[in-house]
Symmetry: C2
Subunit: 369 residues, 2 copies
């Protein structure tokens, strides 16, 4: 296998290093705008050099961002090259176009590292689907948020202090919005639901609430009631009805989610035969992520294409009712049944109603119980 | 695929039910000594009926026990049939013979359900091995022990009370020795180490300590020091030295192992690239176990053989030093550094020395810190 590697940053360099140890694949071209030299690969500044080279059978996209990653990946597929990417935003945003296109062109398209980093989550879904219907997917899919929430809980520190630490340690970006506002998790759960249920979830119908408004006082309220806050994604399929959402969620001490430390992920599916299966590992980082890119490359060599058939478009129906912790905002989306410190616990109310209320009250913090 | 199913108990019946929903495989023969009738499969009381039928290409062994399971499986391989089994004692005991024989005969041999029940653990090791060297395997591999320890910890009950509950609920056998004395876990970690490291560990060199001597007082001692007791298996490969052992182990509240409830398993590998990856799920039960038997059958259809090459025989070297909680017995295998209630915490001492001491003091209870 001759690989054209797009990007030579954190993940790209890891992929290059791992493939150097293998005899069944080699990176023959690297797209990199910086002036680097590699002993065994041609460094290109123009993607066309890779696209037009017929010896390159597989493109690994490790640039990140939507553009020009999208244009490059699409052109590679159209040219009959296999594509492996770790770019969740790309796959989620252009799912409708890229998945059918890869099938039409008869090329492999894999993106295991896009969800769960070192956890082979999308491959786990592919394997599970061989034997059973999946009923639920989700969990802790973002290491940055888990790092922040875990440190706030253990040390009682405020959000801004922990965020700054996370940024200094490289666990959070300078602009952390994609992580802390839940966008990263939102992409991941939509992609997971698409594959688990064999559908294409309308992204506009999937609400997301992040963690950026959580305070040390909130965490103290949770602790006083034996709860721990995690950013949890949920995708369910019950009797043909799909519910998909991302929100801070209060888990009980002793539940597996409560014990997830630092920047780890814990992702779960529930299958009609296997029951609950959960996967715990590094959700990001050079080597864990590059590891699953290379796993995908091995799967491409074994002839695997995408994880699931491309399926019909469906809307999420989030009429499921839950109780919520709500602090701030005007009024409440449902009557209060308890008061925790300066916050209210609501009666059971639909997920969609709470997220609609939150749009009108963006200064509020919510967490499902 | 035409399947000869040996045994129609908990797992066998589950396999039969799941395959009935599929078009790519069917159970055509069932070996069952009871008088049952099946609409779509021939019920045989003599294994030769299945062995001599050339239309049967794959044998699923779901009888349990070593004999005649061993004789049947060996004969099936020799007759050129693929074999799938969930019988960890069988695979572990006759590893030396069955794995090379299956290779010689060019048939598939799979036993994913033998470790972790619903967790596809051995398949996970096979996948991980494609891209990296494994450094460590192990964890909570026995649901019966975890159920007992979890209930003792949460409810403060004594061992015998919880064991009786577990037996009434079907989580423990009438004779629980295989589970509570750690034999089941011992088989599982040896099999895991064989596959993870591509070796054949000499079973005689792998020590095991079980949980049957734990008391409510021990559990109270652990709680007072922020620890929780779990039966943990360990298999390590460091610089070509293999250490493999099974023993009660005190984990800290907040560690993933501490949060494993009821009869669940949590099994972990550490890979040189991926880092720590853990798998959480039902370690036993009809459908979780049958699920992975059917996953194996799908892998057989895809041409997969065994998980790893058959490797050289190695002895476990358990000179690794740990501190131990020790209650009972004559003297101590190492000087005490602390006293917890009626028990001592020892200075660091080799795993092998403690297990040798335990053989001379079978009334003692030990747990590694």
């Amino acid at each position: 296998m001759n690989i054209g590697l797009l990007g030579f940053g954190v993940v790209g360099k890891g992929v290059y290093e791992i493939t150097q140890q293998r005899s069944d694949m080699q990176v023959t071209h690297v797209l990199c705008l910086e002036d680097i030299q590699l002993p065994d690969a041609k460094v290109a500044k123009d993607f066309r050099e890779i696209l037009d080279d017929e010896t390159v059978d597989t493109v690994v996209e490790a640039m990140g961002g939507l553009h020009p990653a999208y244009e490059f990946v699409k052109a590679a597929i159209e040219a009959g090259k296999n594509v492996v990417t770790s770019n969740k935003a790309l796959v989620c945003t252009f799912y409708d176009e890229l998945i059918p296109l890869a099938k039409e062109k008869g090329v492999s398209f894999r993106s295991t590292a896009a969800v769960g980093g070192g956890i082979g989550w999308l491959s786990e879904l592919e394997r599970a689907r061989r034997v059973q219907k999946l009923q639920q997917v989700g969990g802790i899919m973002n290491g940055t948020c888990n790092y922040i929430l875990d440190n706030m809980t253990r040390l009682g520190l405020d959000y801004s202090v922990v965020l700054k630490q996370a940024q200094q340690l490289g666990y959070a970006e300078a602009n952390p919005s994609t992580d802390v506002d839940g966008i990263d998790t939102w992409h991941k759960v939509i992609l997971s639901a698409n594959i688990a249920f064999g559908v294409t979830v309308d992204k506009e119908t999937v609400p997301v609430a992040g963690i950026s408004r959580i305070t040390a006082e909130d965490v103290a309220n949770f602790k006083a009631h034996g709860r721990i806050c995690k950013l949890i994604s949920t995708g369910k399929c019950v009797d043909g009805v799909y519910s998909v959402y991302v929100q801070p969620t209060l888990v009980k001490d002793g539940e597996p989610e409560a014990a997830v430390p630092m920047n780890y992920n814990l992702i779960t599916f529930i299958g009609e035969i296997s029951g609950r299966m959960s996967f715990f590992g590094q959700g990001a980082g050079r080597y864990p992520t590059a590891y699953n890119v290379v796993q995908d490359l091995v799967d491409v060599l074994e002839g695997k294409s995408f994880y699931a058939p491309y399926g019909q478009k469906v809307s999420a129906d989030n009429s499921e009712k839950l109780c919520y912790y709500i602090r701030g905002g005007k009024g409440l989306p449902a009557p209060a049944t308890e008061i925790w410190g300066n916050a209210a616990i609501t009666d059971r109310v639909s997920v969609s109603a709470v997220h609609a209320w939150l749009k009108q009250n963006p200064e509020a913090f919510i967490a499902a119980l």
